[in-house]
Structures are given as structure tokens and as C-alpha cells.
């Protein structure tokens, strides 16, 4: 990397940090319990809007994994999400009615919270419909993973977004509050992912899965990116660059081995496709606040009229992380 490139990337990073600093004024604290955060605590950062029904299980899942404190940005929910979270002892909540899109799809807000509270903590940035799995997650808490990453001097951990879907039409199995969404959306695509490398930021660009197979089969370039780096040993100099797909400085994006080996990685089980999805897509389409002029939601909307079945004969039913490891969607690396 030449000096000029280094300078440009540095400028880009400072620009993101500057935006984060400026946008912090949009966040109004609802309940700030951040002083409860202890030195080695694992923190979770989430932006949400009207996700009340998902929250109880979301919190339960991550509490079990060993997340110590949750920091939420509520983007103007009207379904009681904010009030529910404000009542939880391990949650801090900020709210804003500002534009999601103009906050770079929430990343400016999250970057600010990370800068302010995430410094020198292991920080997990996830959406309410994303469930983090990592090697040995059934027997070892997240603290074990973080300690191991510390011992190996690794600062960022990759977890690819794995779209989960139910068998049959989305509306067939209604989701009940507190239920494990994986009971309904337990199917995934095992081997239709395409990968290319972004040389500028050093990250991989992964596409594929049911969304590309069903919604973007005529224009694959527009299919959503699935590469994610949600777990980072944060420093206040870092910034998420494009959602949680990539970070700056770009060394953090080197979560893959270039010389034939495998680094350790996990997966984010993405349970977007529940019966709640139709209404959500409708709303997001009207708001037009999502990436690429919400083209993803336009594509969904077109197909959703038919209440589609994402399931196919070769869909794989989710069992556990070992299955994902064997299928080659994630890896233990040298963690044993």
C-alpha cells in the first residue's frame, strides 16, 4: 500500500469518526446504565426499529452466550420496544427519530456508541434478527472465544450472515414472542455462495444464499452482501465502514487466510424470514430508508405478493455449529 492510499484510507476513517461524533447529538438517552460496565465485559450493540416481538428471545440468547451489557439505538419505535428495553437491567437505550439512511443506515450512531463505550472491550454488533454462532458455542461461553482471540492477538472475528428460512410460505408459521425463531426458520443454503475480494478495503465480498437464489436471480450483482465482522476488540480509533461488512483500519478486515489455511470464523444466523417479514418489508418500502434506495425491499415486495417458498429440495436443516463447520460455512481454525 502506497503512502497515498494509506492517507486516503486514514482520511476515510477519520471522516467516519467525525460523522459519528456529529451524529451523537441525535441520540437521546432513554436509560443509560453504561456505568455498570466492568473492565472485561462483552458488549452488544444494536440498532432497531419496531422489533418488540423479537426482543425477549434475543436478550435471552445473548445473555446465555455471556454478553454482559447491551447498548441499543432505538430508531423511533412505536411498538413498545423502547419501553421494554428500558426496563431491562443490563440494557442501555438511546432513541432518535432522525433519518436512518442519513446516519449511514445506523452506522454513525453505532460508531459513536462504540467509540464512547466500546474502547478496549470485545464488542458484538448485531441486529435483533441475527444470532451469533461460533466454534464450540454450545460448550464454551463467548468469554472463552474472546480470551482465546486475545491470546492469539486477533482483534476481529468474522461471522458470515447465513439467511435462515422456513419450509413453506412465510405466513404459514406465525412467530410467538419468546420463541426461538430457529424453530421456524431452520433451513439454509449450504453451498451457493460467491466470494470476491475488495482490494481497497481488504475485505471479502460474499453473496449468495436464498436471497440471491430467489430474489436476485436475474441481477446477482445487486444481491446483498453476506460478509460480516461483528465481533471486534474495539478501539476508539476504529470505525465501521459499511454496515458491519468492513472496518477501518483495513487490517481488521483480514479475517481470512490468504495462503491456503483457515482462520477461525463463525456465523450470524439471520432469521429475517418469519411471518413478520411481509409487514416489515411493506413498511420499509414506504420509508425508503434502506441501502441502495431500498432496492432489496423492492425486490422482496415484488416476490412477496406470491407469498413465496424459499425452501428447495437441497435446503439444509440447521442442527448446530459443527454442521456449519463440516459444510465449510465456518471454521474452527486452530482453536481446539
Amino acid at each position: 500500500m502506497g503512502l497515498m492510499d494509506a492517507y486516503k484510507l486514514g482520511r476515510e476513517r477519520r471522516f467516519h469518526l467525525y460523522r459519528a461524533l456529529r451524529k451523537r447529538h441525535q441520540l437521546k438517552p432513554v436509560s443509560n446504565r453504561a456505568r455498570k460496565i466492568r473492565r472485561r465485559d462483552i458488549l452488544a450493540f444494536t440498532t432497531l426499529r419496531n422489533e418488540r416481538v423479537r426482543l425477549p428471545y434475543f436478550l435471552e440468547y445473548y445473555r446465555d452466550l455471556g454478553v454482559n451489557h447491551f447498548l441499543f439505538v432505538d430508531n423511533d419505535s412505536s411498538d413498545g420496544s423502547r419501553e421494554y428495553l428500558a426496563g431491562q437491567e443490563d440494557c442501555s437505550v438511546w432513541t432518535t427519530s432522525a433519518s436512518y439512511r442519513q446516519s449511514r443506515y445506523g452506522m454513525d450512531w453505532i460508531n459513536w456508541l462504540l467509540m464512547r463505550y466500546g474502547h478496549e472491550h470485545w464488542c458484538l454488533t448485531v441486529d435483533p434478527d441475527e444470532f451469533f454462532v461460533y466454534p464450540f458455542c454450545d460448550t464454551r461461553p463467548m468469554a472463552a472465544l474472546c480470551d482465546w482471540l486475545d491470546a492469539c492477538e486477533i482483534r476481529s472475528f468474522s461471522a458470515m450472515l447465513l439467511d435462515m428460512y422456513p419450509k413453506g410460505p412465510l405466513s404459514a408459521q406465525p412467530y410467538v414472542e419468546g420463541q426461538d425463531p430457529l424453530e421456524i426458520a431452520c433451513w439454509f443454503d449450504a453451498g451457493n455462495y460467491t466470494i470476491s475480494r475488495n482490494w481497497k478495503h481488504g475485505n471479502l465480498w460474499i453473496q449468495g444464499g436464498p436471497r440471491m437464489r430467489v430474489f436476485f436471480d436475474d441481477d446477482p450483482w445487486k444481491a446483498p452482501a453476506l460478509n460480516k465482522i461483528p465481533l471486534v476488540r474495539w478501539s476508539r480509533r476504529y470505525a465501521y465502514n459499511s454496515s458491519t461488512h468492513s472496518l477501518l483500519p483495513r487490517g481488521l478486515n483480514l479475517v481470512f487466510d490468504e495462503w491456503g489455511g483457515e482462520k477461525a470464523s463463525g456465523a450470524l444466523l439471520h432469521t429475517k424470514f418469519l411471518d413478520t417479514f411481509g409487514a416489515k418489508a411493506q413498511e420499509e418500502l414506504l420509508r425508503g430508508q434502506h441501502y441502495g434506495k431500498s432496492r432489496e425491499y423492492i425486490a422482496y415486495h415484488e416476490r412477496l405478493q406470491a407469498d413465496p417458498d424459499l425452501w428447495c429440495k437441497w435446503s439444509e436443516k440447521y442442527i448446530n455449529w459443527r454442521q456449519l463447520e463440516i459444510l465449510g460455512l465456518m471454521s474452527k481454525g486452530n482453536w481446539a
Binding site: S158, P210, D217, G260, A264, S331, K332
Partner: protein, 570 residues
């Protein structure tokens, strides 16, 4: 007769306390060294907590940095204290705060009592082992290392380079041969005493102070000088990964650790509550006199290191994305590619799948959607036949297909009409087996009814493309096993090409093919080629066909009677 424990502690003091109590409860005197980097407040609290146990003492504190002398100095002090205070100690066991005894202490005592003169210390000469981190083996004894490897890496490397250029060498003290090995040992009183009271100790200390990672070489070297019986292995189960960092044990390793029959394991994750609970309370059970057997644990950790450094060939994913040339093979399993066969033979795919008993696809790289076997729209791994998705990344499509169907041999058709983006990938892939009947692309052209000018243009295009593919297969970079025939050769002796392709797949042991696919009717093909030539477009890949309207011998047979296969003797 007893065994004394020296513990080097720097973190997880709570766990260290638990383990120290465990040793002391079994009657082993313990001397603990706490890293000087631990704050005085925590150190005091730690001492306070253990003040009720008479057998536990604390030695003077040194700063312990990885790869530096402090650890050796700390060990020396602690050992002197232990040997001075406890005349009954026969063996001294060096352990760390993250070590965990796996077998009852009495078993360790019995084991050592039965071997009163044996020193358990892993110790090998530098020339014979490839353990080193940072590429330094013998040089760690002959160069100087004033800079930290961890925090001043650049200065460290430059200074090493500088000394190499100057040809600088330190003198190794007389009477010692440098050895190295695991830091965790168990030495007899005699050997340890001899090392600590050696008249040359001041000289040795001065020398080793500047050696890189002296904790892995000081005692290992000097034990060779003083010991009467060195058993070169460590009683502490400790495994290192490819970067020289110790593997960590968790609760889910419980059964493995139990079955290993090792005395002590490191390093244990401080929050592995179950391991600490089980191994520090479970004194029950009959006395086992088995030898330690860490084989299974070895295997698990070496597989993990292998996974990290070599990975799974043919897999491309979020944490394995090799640079070009570093894949260790583009694909993970063998597959066969046939070009020109479906053009020349009727129903070739069905015949192939009958004969070879493997999965036979049609033209998966187009034109149009992929023709998966059985006309499926989606196959293994939810890989779809859609042309747009395939052409989005053809190489990934190929590697995905082979990865998803691993364990089952794949065959597919290819042609100059298909997406050529993967041509070079297949040619360079050692797993590919490519059979080509050159020039067979002309058969469909010959059978169409299109304006001749169009056919001529198409023929020229296809010939150019196939020529490039054949060049790739014949290039010095090609690793695929390629078999190329001209169409004329195959028409002359069809069974030869078919037999050779099937043999190459190595699936069937049958000496000869039971049946052959039927060749398409080529009456007038020679004339067709001639008219192309007359138009100025010379088809050369298919070999020579007589220009006259020929009457091949096989055509004399009635249509309803299939041709009999025959074998060409080599």
C-alpha cells in the same frame, strides 16, 4: 521423600490459589513466584489468602517478560528456597498458575519415588528439532537480543540481520552443549542442586541472560551437564500451536484430559469451572499406575494446527480465501470434463452414467442455464442452474459444485459454445480430467439448416475458441490430465477414445466396454467441411475427412441393428 512444587504465577491468582492449596493439602511444599508486574495490592491479597497454609511460601519477585531472563531468575530463587527449606524434597516440579493436576498427587509421588534418579526434562539439541519460532534455532545461542520480539519486532529483526552480516558470534561457555525444550520440567534434588551450586554458575547466568528465550534452554542445557539420567519428556501436558502459543483446555476437554493419564496439564482456561471442580476434588478411585498417554490430545491439536495452516482444499469461504496459486488445488475432488462427445454420439450422457456409474451433467456452463443431471433446477448445496447466477462467478460455480458433491465423482460436458471463463481454471486444476474430441463442434452446425454465411462465421468462432482451450490444455501451466483426439481419429476408432476416457477415470475395472454409444449420422460431413473450405474458412481441428460424398462402411448396416463394440489392440 516428597515432591516440591514451584509455581510461576502471573494471572488468574484465584485459580493459582486453588491449585496451590491442592498441592499443599497432599503434603507437597509449594513455593510461589508472583510476577512483579502484578500490582502490590493484588499480590498482598493473594499472600493473605494463602497465609493459613504453612507449606506455601513466596519467593522474591522478578519481572517476567516472555523470552527474557526474568523467568529463569524467578525459577532459580524459588528452587533455592524450596530446596533450602525442605530437606525431604526429592523432586522439584516446575508448574505455572494455569497448570492443573489431573491425577491424584499421591500417584505423582509414587511415580517419582519409583524413579528417584530420573530427571524429566524435555531437552534436545537445536540442530535436531524444528520447534523454533521466528526462524532462530542455533542463533538464539550465538547472537545477542537486546530488543523485545513482541514489542520491538522491527528492531529485533534488524539487529539480528546486522549481527548476521557482521558475522558476530557469541562464545558458548565451555562444558555446555546448548539444548532446548519445554519450559516445564521435574528435576531431582541432586541435579537441581548441582545446577544451582555449579562453580561456573555466574558465568552461565551471564551467558544465558542474553540468550533468546532462556527459560526454554537454561535448565535444559545444564541438566545435560549434571544429570545422570535424563528422560527427555515433560510430565506436564502442554501443546503448542503453529505460532508457538500454548493450546488452552476448556470444560469440554474433560474426558480427553481424563483419558490422557497425564499428571499435570497446561494451560487451563481460568473460567473452566468444571475442570477445576473435577480435578481438584476427585481424589477418589483406585491408584492407576499407567504411563501418561497424550496421544489423542496430540491428534486433536495437530489436526487443528493443520486446519489453520493448510485448510480444506477446494473450499472457499469467509475465512479461507487463498491468493491465486496458494489454493493447494483449485478443487477438492476429481472430476471429468467431456468436450465434443455429446456432439458426436447419440445419448452420450446416458451411456456415460450407465458405464461409469457416476453423476453425469450436461452442458453446465451453457449456453443457457446449467443442465444438471436429471434436469434438476437446483442441486446439492442449493446451487441453482440459472445462467445469470452461474455467469456471475463461473469459477465459484465450478468450485461450489465440486465441493458440494464431494464424495461423488462428477462428469460434465463442455464445449466452445459454453462460458469460457473457466477454461484456464480447469486446465490448471490437477483434479480435472479433460477429454476432447477436437472439431466435434462442427457436427451440430452440419446438422442445422441455417444460412451458410452464418454457419461459416459460427464455425470460425468456435474453432478459434476450441483452439485456445487446447492451447491451454497443452501449455506448461496445465495440470489437468488431458486427452485430445481429432474427430477423424474418433470416427475411425470410436472405442479407443471412449475406452481411454473411461479408463482415465479409474472407476471401472472392466477390461472392455460392454456397449458403445451410437455415433450420429455423418453422411455428407466431408462435403460440408469442403464447402467451408471453399468459403475460405479452413476447419483444421477435426482432422481429415474425405471431401467426396463418402459411404462409410458402418452405414451399410441396417439402422435397427446396433453396431457392435470393438476393441483396438495397442
Amino acid at each position: 521423600m516428597s515432591v516440591g512444587i514451584v509455581m510461576l504465577v502471573h494471572t488468574a491468582l484465584g485459580r493459582a490459589e486453588q491449585v496451590a492449596r491442592h498441592w499443599a493439602a497432599a503434603g507437597c511444599p509449594v513455593v510461589i513466584h508472583v510476577d512483579a508486574k502484578v500490582s502490590d495490592r493484588r499480590y498482598k491479597a493473594f499472600r493473605e489468602a494463602l497465609s493459613d497454609v504453612a507449606l506455601i511460601r513466596f519467593s522474591s519477585r522478578h519481572v517476567c517478560t516472555w523470552g527474557a531472563w526474568g523467568i529463569v531468575a524467578a525459577t532459580q530463587d524459588a528452587c533455592e528456597m524450596l530446596l533450602g527449606d525442605h530437606a525431604e524434597v526429592q523432586h522439584v516440579f516446575l508448574s505455572s498458575g494455569s497448570c492443573l493436576p489431573l491425577r491424584p498427587v499421591d500417584e505423582l509421588k509414587t511415580y517419582l519415588a519409583a524413579r528417584p534418579r530420573t530427571d524429566f526434562i524435555e531437552s534436545a539439541t537445536t540442530a535436531d528439532v524444528p520447534w523454533t519460532v521466528g526462524g532462530l534455532d542455533e542463533e538464539r545461542f550465538t547472537l545477542r537480543f537486546p530488543f523485545s520480539w513482541k514489542t520491538q519486532r522491527r528492531a529485533f529483526d534488524r539487529y539480528v540481520e546486522f549481527q548476521r552480516k557482521l558475522g558476530f558470534r557469541r562464545r558458548i561457555p565451555d562444558g555446555v552443549v546448548p539444548h532446548m525444550g519445554s519450559q516445564w520440567w521435574c528435576l531431582t534434588r541432586q541435579t537441581l542442586q548441582a545446577i544451582l551450586t555449579d562453580p561456573q554458575r555466574a558465568e552461565y547466568d551471564r551467558y544465558f541472560r542474553k540468550v533468546w528465550i532462556p527459560d526454554e534452554s537454561y535448565f535444559q542445557t545444564l541438566a545435560r551437564k549434571h544429570s545422570t539420567h535424563v528422560e527427555s519428556r515433560s510430565l506436564t501436558l502442554s501443546k503448542f500451536d503453529f505460532q508457538g502459543k500454548p493450546h488452552i483446555f476448556y470444560d469440554d476437554h474433560l474426558q480427553l484430559l481424563r483419558r490422557s493419564d497425564c499428571f499435570v496439564a497446561r494451560k487451563i482456561w481460568p473460567h473452566a469451572n468444571r475442570l477445576y471442580r473435577v480435578f481438584l476434588t476427585d481424589a477418589e478411585g483406585a491408584m492407576k499406575r499407567r504411563e501418561p498417554n497424550p496421544g489423542k490430545i496430540d491428534r486433536i491439536f495437530s489436526t487443528a494446527s493443520e486446519r489453520r495452516t493448510r485448510g480444506r482444499t477446494g473450499l472457499y469461504m469467509q475465512s479461507r480465501f487463498p491468493r491465486e496459486g496458494w489454493e493447494g488445488g483449485l478443487t477438492g475432488a476429481r472430476y471429468s470434463v467431456f468436450q465434443g462427445f455429446t456432439e458426436l454420439f447419440e445419448d452420450f450422457e446416458a451411456w456415460l452414467s450407465r458405464t461409469a456409474g457416476c453423476r453425469v451433467h450436461g452442458q453446465i456452463f451453457g449456453p443457457g442455464d446449467a443442465e444438471f443431471s436429471g434436469g434438476q433446477q437446483v442441486i446439492n448445496g442449493a446451487l441453482t442452474a440459472k445462467a445469470a447466477l452461474r455467469d456471475h462467478s463461473p469459477r465459484t460455480f465450478l468450485t461450489n459444485l465440486i465441493w458440494n458433491t464431494r464424495g461423488e465423482r462428477q462428469c460434465f460436458q463442455y464445449s466452445p459454445r459454453a462460458n469460457q471463463a473457466v477454461a484456464w481454471d480447469m486446465a490448471k486444476d490437477g483434479n480435472a480430467h479433460v477429454s476432447v474430441i477436437a472439431g466435434a463442434w462442427a457436427v451440430p452446425l452440419f446438422r442445422t439448416r441455417r444460412p451458410f454465411e452464418e454457419i461459416r462465421r459460427e464455425a470460425a468462432r468456435l474453432q478459434r475458441i476450441e483452439h485456445e482451450f487446447l492451447d491451454a490444455l497443452r501449455s506448461p501451466w496445465a495440470k489437468a490430465r488431458a486427452q485430445i483426439w481429432s474427430m477423424a481419429e474418433v470416427v475411425e476408432a470410436p472405442s479407443e477414445a471412449l475406452q481411454a476416457s473411461i479408463d482415465e477415470m479409474g472407476l471401472r475395472t472392466a477390461r472392455r466396454l460392454p456397449e458403445l454409444p451410437e455415433m450420429r449420422d455423418l453422411t455428407g460431413f466431408g462435403a460440408f467441411l469442403q464447402s467451408l473450405k471453399n468459403q475460405g474458412m479452413h476447419p483444421y481441428l477435426m482432422g481429415d475427412f474425405p471431401a467426396e460424398v463418402d459411404e462409410p462402411a458402418q452405414d451399410e448396416e441396417p439402422d435397427d441393428k446396433p453396431r457392435r463394440p470393438y476393441m483396438v489392440k495397442k
